[in-house]
Symmetry: none
DNA sequence: GCAAACACCGGCAAAATGACGGAAAAAATG
DNA sequence: CATTTTTTCCGTCATTTTGCCGGTGTTTGC
């Protein structure tokens, strides 16, 4: 992973479908050298694949972030709530006003609302802020 | 968005870097027809772009969320800033006060701070809120 | 010093692409 | 219903890109 690999990955992050030749021009290497490097990056697992980025409206379902504030002495005491929701993808404790940031992907807005209400029933939870995801610009995880 | 478009997108989701010819074979259309359809899907915004999927380079480090507010008429105009940062893992447009929620994983707090300052240099960006991840409770993705 | 391994380059044939005109199908018009 | 218009598709040609190869220079280890 030297500066050339970094540059190549930078190019692919701009547009993963551009030609190897075009990348070679941008990074000032021969086409075959770039092709070799990309193949190696794929084989060693640095590059896990290539994704098409769709507008959020085309995806089935709705994603959202919940910011959660609770009154439990420890986060651990409230996390079981989110374990019980299969749509929860990530749940992390964060610095700032709120305590937790929970990312969910629900099949429908109706279900999303249901999840929100379910969370709300828990007395330990003081405050919820919902942020519906309206567009996805970068996703290096493949969700 | 008929069944052909769906099939094409399905192919691209498998591997966004495969050739148009290969997709044409899989969906039983001529190469030029598929190329036209893809171009149209790009122009109408159904396909927003193509991304390379990277493996988490190192488990060590610091993660954080940046809430971003900007003054660009369209989010797309400001997203290139985050494409330029290899540590960015997700970047999504959200409802609420802020416009974007960016998740990053940096090798060190020093580097995280560097990223924050880099983002701050961009005049289009009005406001940044940083939330350092202090604990991870649920992660259904294997980042 | 001398192989071996590595990364790079350039060249060639094969494959993929972009651009075009024209046929067929679908939609809109009278 | 007939006809125009639009859309979608196909095949072809010139160009670009790709995969594959041998050859060269540089680093690595014995």
């Amino acid at each position: 992973m030297d500066k050339f690999d970094t540059a190549i990955i930078h190019c692919l992050r701009q547009d993963a479908r551009q030609s190897v030749s075009s990348i070679a021009e941008q990074v000032n290497l021969s086409r075959s050298a770039v092709a070799e490097r990309i193949k190696k990056l794929e084989q060693t697992g640095v590059i896990r694949g290539y994704q098409v980025l769709l507008s959020e409206s085309q995806k089935e379902g709705v994603s959202a972030y919940f910011e959660i504030q609770h009154k439990c002495p420890r986060c651990a005491d409230v996390v079981h709530v989110f374990h019980a929701i299969p749509e929860v993808i990530t749940c992390r404790g964060i610095s700032g006003d709120m305590d937790l940031l929970v990312y969910v992907h629900a099949p429908s807005m109706r279900r999303l609302h249901e999840i929100r209400e379910y969370i709300d029933t828990h007395t330990d939870i003081i405050k919820i802020k919902t942020h519906v995801v309206m567009s996805e610009w970068i996703n290096n995880l493949g969700e």
